[in-house]
Symmetry: none
DNA sequence: GATGAATGAGAGTTCATTCAT
DNA sequence: CATGAATGAACTCTCATTCAT
């Protein structure tokens, strides 16, 4: 009996997972508003009541799916970061990971966020207190960590405005994905990962550049300073001579 | 009599405008999905049939409102650009204008775009063929023009990847606005224009930097150094005379 | 001026006719219920108000179109009957004419009658007093005339139940047309006139037969009588011999 | 408890039946187009949603009611045919049954068919594939069976064109009913069954006549002649004896 | 007589959610 | 804890008809 005890929990978990997967699949194919809870129940092979026994409401289901995506983003990011040493490597990896994960399930995360904001955005105070916002913060704080470490290691400038960098980083990728989708050739139906990664790179390049504590630049500046110093010294020499 | 002739046309335009304003107002306050066509008709002081005589459907109304915003963005941008000379000035102005206009009506444009994408985003081919996409392109091409002119005038580098810059520019502002809203102090209910402009500036700074022609900058720096040296030399000359 | 006087009337008549034709065309293509008065007005190139200045209501328009069909049926029948001599010829012609005319405009008459009956049939008293019923009676009375003349000329039996013949005649053709349409080969999109006429013929044959005052049958009877007579004569002969 | 188990299914069936009966009753009294689904729900004592949980749409409800009529026609016909021996008896019974059943509920079947054809008749391919057409075929094939058996038993001619007979049979009855309704005396509000059966008989007579095997009839005639001849011969014999 | 904007009741249908079983 | 029938408010949209111009 003890061996069978965990079963109910497992069954329960399986059911929950089935419903989630059914919802993800339907939302991805038809959109949130065009997928009814009845359809979700049917697709999950459970009754309509069961959906509501497992999830408070349809919009709660939406939130949980979005959270799941953020968790996935965070997990893949954290796992990947472990192997990356050096700030630039980590920075680039975060971008690649982000653009690849958000493109999953036909860009479902972005579409669901659009749904979420289309219903809740007016109530931004709600958003701030929402668990979605919290998950989003947890995830994006990985970016912050990477940058902060970069600064600490003097790889990056000290006077970086972090929030601006974050917005540039995540905002441009999400906006860029939309642009890319809209400009797909008619025959194409998908964006391949290589294309996405390459694009992510072209967006990150300027951001990185602006943060970089460039050795090159420092040495150039030093050179200029040296030249200036030399001239000033010559002036000083002349003054000395006069005195 | 001749003076009263134009009335019918005006009346018709007025009614249409009334409906649009009512819709904008309701969408802004309650969101698109929670504003019914009945409410809109009532708020506009017309019958429900009149709404549908003037607009094909509720979603057509949505599209027209979004288009209106893009037209407003383009018009204010075009008018403002006339007085701005110099690429940097224009670039900064575009950012300020963008962030100010999208913050109007409680960030209605962004919320309506979220609605639009939440329903249509899966069908990106639809989006590409939609009039909204066309309006958006017309507007964002102003940015392209400014950058291209900057390149032509050698103020900007030649090898700029325009689409990446565009996505950084518009994407970071829209993402940034969301972040700012989510982080408003509880007592605040609005973002004031100054704050917005300042933020736009901090987002634009790195983008500009990455595009700027460093040849230009170097010569400017050199110029400054030279000027400094000259002044010092003149000072030295005067000292020489005095002594 | 005297020459231009008739114009207004003509114009008015033209308008009316345009509206009628537009309605017929739309009803034929989309059905009565799916054709709005707005569409009709547009197709006729007039305003919506004009439709209602010329026809009391949409259903009045329907009735007038149905009446027009009955008039057409009557006119073509009357004109055709003039050249047909002999009851059988006229009878066959009526059938051919009927089936050909009702097949016009994609069987519009039948479809419009279905509309009419679907809305008014419950109120059969209304139907009896309606002008459609009157027109229908005027038309079908041509059949009655032909039969009555046939009886008068001894071509048809005296004890024919006219109403039953009429119902067999018109009922079977209309029902038969429906059957034929339902059993069209998939590649066919129309019933050609020859097929229709042939079918009309196979429906009419039994009806005619039942009414015919057959010469053939009389002659067969004569033959039998002759045979009988011959035998009697032989019997008489034998009697003569005996005597 | 076991006894109460089947309840849910029964309840469900009862509800469905209630809705059907409510719809039949309302359609019969007010016509299909003038009976709203709201009214039907109210009359059935259920909510509007329940109507649509049980029937896909209002027009599906229409189709199911029509199918019910066809089933009733078939069932009463099949049951009745069992007791009828001889082709003529069966043929007459089919006619009586048909005209009696279609006159039920104020001729609802015919009126609902009019509704159906008024909406779908243009799309005859749809009709052919519709379940209504199938039910109608199943029912009318009973007529075909009776006739084929009659042919097999040599009671009917071999060269009968079955489809024409079918169209004459069913077409004339339905057309005839319309005529009768339109010519009811004002004080009458119903057609009584005797009248209907008598009329059915007068429509069937010519159809039967045209199918009847004349061989059969001829042999009967011959028999009569033979009998006659025999009698004459007997008379002649007697005469011979006397002489 | 022509116009066509305005009407507004009413239609069919959807759907998240509840709750008795 | 699962079920799924029942709910009923709410939705967008249609359309014949009117009437001021």
């Amino acid at each position: 009996m003890a061996a069978t005890r965990p079963k109910p929990e497992n069954r329960s978990q399986e059911r929950r997972e089935k419903i989630l997967q059914a919802a993800i699949s339907l939302f991805s194919e038809q959109g949130y508003h065009h997928s009814s809870t009845r359809q979700i129940a049917k697709a999950a092979g459970v009754s309509e009541g069961t959906v509501f026994n497992n999830f408070e409401s349809k919009s709660a289901l939406l939130e949980i799916i979005i959270q799941g995506f953020y968790e996935r983003l965070r997990n893949t990011a954290q796992e990947g970061l472990v192997n990356k040493h050096g700030c630039k490597e980590q920075f680039d990896f975060l971008a690649e990971n982000h653009i690849c994960v958000i493109s999953e399930d036909n860009f479902l995360l972005m579409r669901l966020l659009a749904v979420y904001f289309s219903e809740h955005f007016n109530f931004y105070l709600d958003y701030r207190n929402s668990s979605i916002f919290k998950h989003s913060k947890i995830y994006t704080s990985l970016f912050d960590q990477v940058i902060r470490e970069g600064i600490a290691r003097k790889e990056l400038k000290e006077d970086i405005k972090l929030s601006a960098m974050r917005d540039l980083f995540f905002g441009s990728m999400e906006y860029g994905v939309r642009s890319m989708l809209a400009q797909l050739e008619t025959e194409e139906t998908e964006l391949n990962q290589e294309k996405l990664k390459a694009y992510a790179h072209s967006l990150c390049q300027p951001i990185w550049q602006s943060m970089e504590n460039s050795e090159d630049q420092r040495s150039k500046d030093n050179q200029k300073e040296l030249n200036l110093c030399e001239r000033l010294e010559r002036i000083a020499d002349r003054l000395e001579e006069k005195i």
